[in-house]
Each structure stands twice: as C-alpha cells, then as structure tokens.
C-alpha cells in the first residue's frame, strides 16, 4: 500500500520532489529569518 503514486506531474518545477523541497526550504528560511529577526531587535 506504500507504492509510489506520483503519476500526476505538477504544473510547476517539473517534479513533486522539487515542489516539496521548495515548501521545506521556505520553512527553513522562515526559521532562519525569524532567528535573525529576534536577534536583530532584541
């Protein structure tokens, strides 16, 4: 029941792996920016 079901191609970036990387990259960027934000104004 865990077989890959990635037949659908995303409309952007060509593959789902890249889209997932963008989502997780944005989270990482947010955490880094928030850390910088806290540091800059504390």
């Amino acid at each position: 029941m865990n077989e890959p079901m990635n037949k659908d191609v995303p409309p952007l970036l060509g593959s789902w792996k890249r889209i997932y990387a963008v989502v997780l990259g944005e989270l990482l960027l947010c955490i880094l920016l928030f850390r910088l934000f806290s540091w800059a104004f504390s």
């Binding site: 029941m1 079901m5 191609v9 409309p11 789902w16 989502v23 989270l27 850390r35």
Partner: protein, 567 residues
C-alpha cells in the same frame, strides 16, 4: 459602532452568504453534496483549508498572545509544512485512489468496522464540542466589548452559516471560504498598516521593532528544549508535526476540503499552499500584536482589557483598592511612555551608551507597571474565584474599537465573524458528511442520490443546532473551557496512531488496533490529568502508544494484514 461600520459589516456578511448560496447550488447526489463535485482547483482547496483552520479566535487571541507573551507562538505552526509534505506523499494519493468520502472509510478496508466507527466516533465527539467553542469564544468577546447580546450573537453566526452550508454542502462551504479569506486578509492587512501609521510620527517602524524587541516581544525562536514549555522550536517541529499530521490527515473537516480536488495534483497543491502560507501568515498576525504592544507604549492602556471580571471587582469590597491600583498603573505607564520616548530619541542620536542606558530604564519601567498590573489581576482573581483571569482575547478588539478609524472597525469585526463562520461551516459540513457516510450509508445502507442529499442536509443542520446549543452551554462552563480547548490534542494522537498503524505496521489486524487505541486514549487522558506535560506532546504520546501497543497485541494474533482495497 458607526453607521458606516454597520454598513461594512452587514455588506460583508451578506456577500459571504449570497456568494456561498450562489456557488453551491446544484448538488443533486450525495457525492456532489459531500464531495463538492470533486472539481475544485488547487487555490480554492488551499483557501478552504486555511479558512477552516482559521477561526475568529485566531484573530482575537493571536495578536493578544504577542502583546502578553511575545511572538514565540508562531513555532506552534512549524510542523505544518512538514506534515503537508508527508501527507502529500503518503495518505492523500491513497484517499484519491480509493475514492473515499471520509477519512475513516479507509480503516474498515484495512482493519474492521469497529475500528472505523471508533475513529469516526472520536472525531464526532471532539469536533462537535470544538465547533461550539468556535462560535462561543468570539461571541463572548464581542458581547463583552460591544455590549451585544451573547445569545443573539451565537444565533446570528449559526444561522448565517447554516443557510449556505446546509443548502449547498461542501461546494458552498469552499466558495464561501474564498470570500471569507478575502475579508479576513483585507481587514488584517489594513489594521496592520493603520497600526504602524498611528504610532507617533517620530517613531519609525524600525524604532517600533526595537522597542518591542527590547521588551521581549520579538522572541520568535526558542531553541531551548523543555517538554513543559508549550512553545519552542522542538515542540513545534516534533509535537506540532504530529498534531498537524493528525489534523490534516485524519480530521474530516480538513480531509473533506482536499478530497474535493479534481485530481491528486490539485489536492496536493492545495495542501502545500496551506503549508507555505500558514507560518508567514501567523508571523504577520503576531507582528500586528507586537505593534499594538508598541502603540500602547505611547498611549495608556487599561489595567485589564476584559471589562467583565473588572465589573466583579468593582462590586466587591476590593473596589477602592482596585481604583487605587488603576491610578498607580496610569502613573507607571506615563513613566514608561517617557522612557520609551527617551529610548527612541537615544536611538536617533546614535550614542551606544545612552541607547543601552535608556533601554534598561525602559525595561525597568515596564517591569514596574507590570508589577502594578499583577496586583490588579490578583484582585480580579479574588473577586472571580475559581477562574484564571486573562484578557489576551480582548486586547486586539479593544484596541480596534478605541483606536482604528470608522469603517475599518466594521471591516475588522466582519473579519472576526468571517473567521467564526469559516471554521463552523467547514466543521459542521464534515460532521454531517461523517454522519452520512460512516453511519447512515454504512450501518443503515442508505443509497446515494437525492435522498442522501437530504439526509446530509438534515445531519448538517442537526450538528449546527448542536454546536449552537453547546456554545450556549459553554457560557456556564467557566474554567472548563480551557480543558475543552485542548480536547483536540487528547484525541488526535490516538486517531493518527490508528492511521499510521494501518499504513505501516502490516502484521496488525483489527482487534489489536482497536484495543490499542482504547488503552492509548486512557493513557493520554491520564497524562492530561496527572502530569504537567505540554499538550502538544500528547499527539506524539498517543500516536506512539497506539502503534506500540497494537504491535504488542498483534503478537498474540496470526500475522498478515488484510489487503487494502477500495470498498
């Protein structure tokens, strides 16, 4: 409120209801009513997911949270993008392949009927209670601050929601969500811009952030690991991921939103859109709260923003002592304002030593005024025995009513109503769908078609009435409300554990999963009653307990899982 505010509020609510009715017309089958025709595009799914999760209390409580405690609450949402990616890879394609209408159908295919009914039952219990609070909490705030009748408020929100939700089902809910998100976005963005604009003219945005940061309100990231600390990086990333996996993967109020997608691609993109938007959105709402905090460094706030408990003090023997504290508080805040002015002036001068000295004086002045406030809160607690006095939910709306211009007040209150309506509609629609699919269709054997549309409408209407009745009852619950608020985390871990066992622990069969879930649920409730572990961790504990116990129980059963096939 002025006439213009009433006009904006009335126009916005009318638009939401008419838009939902118009776009939701034409459901002629049960699948069309519950599944929304399965033709939704990714952006509509994404907006609908965000709107369902975003309740009115999000807008009332979150800025107040930043005002009182700083911005660390945003860490609560760090698990959401992770959960969105995991669900997009695992469960979402499976739901589409099996063409299920509710999340719980899948459990009968993998385990048995009783496990499906257990998960559906846990959802019906926790969600039906939560939806009552969804409309009660903002109605209470509005009734206290605006003097509106609480019962009329609950009845108004409930009735407006039911007009389009009962009539049009999932499609009406999704399209109404899009209009509600538009109102919410306009209201919050304009409120943020206006708050920055209303700071004293010599206080720049950068000055405002330095004042907020200097007083500990920009503490966004806390890397210190502490299981008893509700909001830090690790509770957000670990506990938050399990909570979000459970909420978005197994809670029908969210599953129903993305199952309405026209394809796996559309559903995935909608879920991932939510994963990308939610963290920045919560950050901006918290930043708005931090700006309100800065606004009140240059204007004197009330000693306590919630006037309800204050009335109790004024009617008690401590009234004179409280009035004296109010005078002390005004004096302390005037001193604090002078220190804030001195700090900003020092920053403009650029003398590092003077900046450090004035910052320290500002922090001391803030500590002094907070000490007076704490004495006031102690008197409030004395006059309201058995309650934990809190004004967090009242800060933002009190600020809006006293400080924002005519017209914008109406728009922000329309955003509060929209938040209340968007959560309630998504939730009663999901409660209705679960009742129809997992109980009526499965147990009674009802057929799909026009009859099922009417059964769905009756079920949705009944759950809406139950939500309003519980909201009325909640007014008498007092401090129990906090317990009901964390109800979700008491059940989510167990439900997620059942699903993870279904997907990844192949040797486990129905009986083992069912009894493991019951034992795990008792364990989670014991954690809540007898330990101080923060509620986010209940999701991990409940989930791990179900997986571990079901594996242990399965050792006494023949191995091998039932094949997972479409019903």
């Amino acid at each position: 409120m002025s006439r213009l505010d009433w006009f904006v509020l009335g126009g916005a609510l009318l638009f939401v209801v008419l838009w939902g009715l118009y776009k939701g017309r034409g459901a002629t089958t049960g699948e069309g009513y519950i599944g929304g025709g399965r033709d939704h595009r990714w952006w509509l799914i994404g907006l609908s997911i965000i709107a369902t999760q975003t309740s009115a209390i999000t807008f009332l409580s979150t800025p107040g949270q930043a005002y009182v405690d700083g911005m660390r609450f945003v860490q609560f949402y760090f698990g959401l993008p992770l959960a969105a990616v995991i669900l997009s890879i695992t469960i979402l394609p499976l739901y589409h392949r099996l063409k299920v209408s509710t999340a719980y159908e899948i459990l009968e295919a993998r385990f048995d009927l009783k496990t499906r009914l257990l998960a559906a039952g846990l959802f019906l219990i926790q969600r039906s209670l939560a939806v009552g609070l969804t409309i009660f909490a903002p109605a209470l705030v509005l009734s206290v601050l605006l003097g509106w009748n609480l019962h009329v408020n609950i009845l108004l929100v409930g009735t407006l929601v039911m007009i389009y939700t009962v009539t049009g089902g999932t499609k009406a809910v999704a399209w109404a969500h899009s209009s509600q998100m538009l109102i919410i976005a306009c209201g919050m963005i304009l409120a943020g811009v206006m708050t920055a604009y209303r700071l004293p003219s010599h206080v720049s945005f950068s000055d405002a952030l330095h004042v907020a940061g200097g007083l500990g309100r920009l503490n966004v990231i806390d890397t210190h690991f502490d299981p008893n600390n509700r909001y830090n990086l690790w509770s957000g990333l670990i506990g938050g991921t399990f909570l979000m996996l459970s909420y978005f993967g197994t809670d029908q109020s969210q599953v129903q939103r993305y199952l309405a997608g026209s394809s796996v691609t559309q559903s995935r993109l909608g879920l991932l859109l939510n994963g990308m938007i939610k963290v920045p959105m919560q950050f901006l709402i918290l930043l708005l709260g931090a700006l309100v905090f800065v606004f009140y460094q240059f204007h004197t706030p009330p000693l306590f923003f919630n006037p309800g408990p204050v009335k109790q003090v004024m009617a008690s023997p401590d009234a004179a002592a409280y009035r004296a504290l109010e005078v002390d508080f005004v004096k302390a805040r005037e001193g604090q304002s002078r220190m804030a002015e001195a700090y900003v002036t020092a920053r403009h001068g650029g003398d590092a030593a003077l900046i450090a000295a004035t910052k320290q004086q500002l922090q001391q002045a803030h500590a002094d005024s907070e000490a007076v406030r704490r004495k006031g809160v102690a008197l409030i607690e004395k006059a309201n025995p058995g309650t934990k006095p809190s004004d967090t939910n009242y800060i933002f709306l009190a600020y809006v009513l006293s400080s924002l211009p005519v017209g914008l007040v109406g728009l922000v209150i329309a955003a509060v109503f929209s938040g209340s309506m968007s959560s309630m509609s998504g939730e009663i629609s999901a409660l209705g769908a679960t009742t129809v699919v997992d109980l009526w269709r499965r147990l009674i054997g009802g057929s799909q078609g026009v009859r099922e549309v009417w059964v769905g409408r009756i079920a949705t209407f009944a759950w809406g009435c139950f939500a309003m009745a519980f909201a009325e009852y909640a007014a008498r619950l007092g401090s129990l409300i906090e317990a009901v608020n964390i109800l979700g985390s008491l059940f989510y871990g167990t439900i997620l554990g059942i699903f993870i066992t279904a997907f990844y622990v192949k040797r486990v069969r129905g009986g083992a999963a069912f009894y493991a879930a019951l034992v795990a649920e008792v364990g989670v409730i014991a954690c809540f009653k007898f330990t101080s572990i923060s509620f986010l961790w209940y999701n991990l504990i409940g989930c791990a307990a179900v997986v571990g116990l079901s594996w242990c129980f399965s050792l006494s059963q023949p191995s091998g899982a039932a094949p997972l096939t479409s019903e």
